[in-house]
Amino acid sequence: DARVTQTPRHKVTEMGQEVTMRCQPILGHNTVFWYRQTMMQGLELLAYFRNRAPLDDSGMPKDRFSAEMPDATLATLKIQPSEPRDSAVYFCASGTESSYNEQFFGPGTRLTVL
C-alpha cells in the first residue's frame, strides 16, 4: 500500500530553534508539494518540486524557510529560526505528471512553536 510518509508527526519547539520536517514521496512520483494548513489561512502551497527541481516556492517566507530534495526519496522543509506564527500543520503531497493532477497527501506534521 503505497503512501506518503512524513516525520515527525508532532513537533513542539521553542521560538528561535531550527525545525526540519521530512517527507518520503510515493515511489515513482516525480512531483512533490509542501502545504501549510492553519485555521486562518486554510491550505497554502509553500513549495513545489518536479523531478527534484524547485519550480515554485513563491508561497514560502524566504528569509526563514527552505525546501530541498536531496534525492528522489526525500524532501525536507526547514524553518530557521522558527517563530510562534509558524505553528500549523505541514503537509507533503506527491504525484505524477499525468493529466489527472491528483495529489497524494501524507499525514502531516503538527508544529507548535512556543
Binding site: 512531483t31 508539494f33 486554510g42 491550505l43 502551497l45 513545489y48 518536479r50 519550480l55 515554485d56 500543520v89 503537509f91 503531497a93 504525484g95 505528471e97 493529466s99 489527472y100 493532477n101 491528483e102 495529489q103 497524494f104 497527501f105 499525514p107 502531516g108 503538527r110
Partner: protein, 114 residues
C-alpha cells in the same frame, strides 16, 4: 486569477439523508480536472472524487457524486445516505498554473447527526 470558492463554512445532515456541498471556481482554461478532498479529524487528506472538465457525464463514486456545470463553473458534491463516518472537512480543489498545482477552497465542515 484562478480561484476556488466554497460558500458554506458549515453544513449538517441527518444520518441516511442527502447533503450537497457547493463549490465555484474561476478559470480561463478549457480542459482541467476538479477534485473533492475529505479531511476527517485524523487530518489525513483523502481524495473523494475527481471530475474531468471535458466529460459531460458527472462523476460518481459509490455514495458520492458531483453536479458539474462547466458553463456556470460550478462543482458541487452530493453525499447520499450520509454516514457518521462522513463527518469531516471537505475541500474543493482546482489545478492552477500548470505543473499540477492545486488551489483549495476554504473548506466546508460537515456534521452528521444520528
Amino acid at each position: 486569477a484562478q480561484t476556488v470558492t466554497q460558500s458554506q463554512p458549515e453544513m449538517s445532515v441527518q444520518e441516511a439523508e442527502t447533503v450537497t456541498l457547493s463549490c465555484t471556481y474561476d478559470t480561463s482554461e478549457s480542459d482541467y480536472y476538479l477534485f473533492w478532498y475529505k479531511q476527517p479529524p485524523s487530518r489525513q487528506m483523502i481524495l473523494v472524487i475527481r471530475q474531468e472538465a471535458y466529460k459531460q457525464q458527472n462523476a460518481t463514486e459509490n455514495r458520492f457524486s458531483v453536479n458539474f456545470q462547466k458553463a456556470a463553473k460550478s462543482f458541487s458534491l452530493k453525499i447520499s445516505d450520509s454516514q457518521l463516518g462522513d463527518a469531516a472537512m471537505y475541500f474543493c480543489a482546482f489545478p492552477s498554473g500548470g505543473y499540477n498545482k492545486l488551489i483549495f477552497g476554504a473548506g466546508t465542515r460537515l456534521a452528521v447527526h444520528p
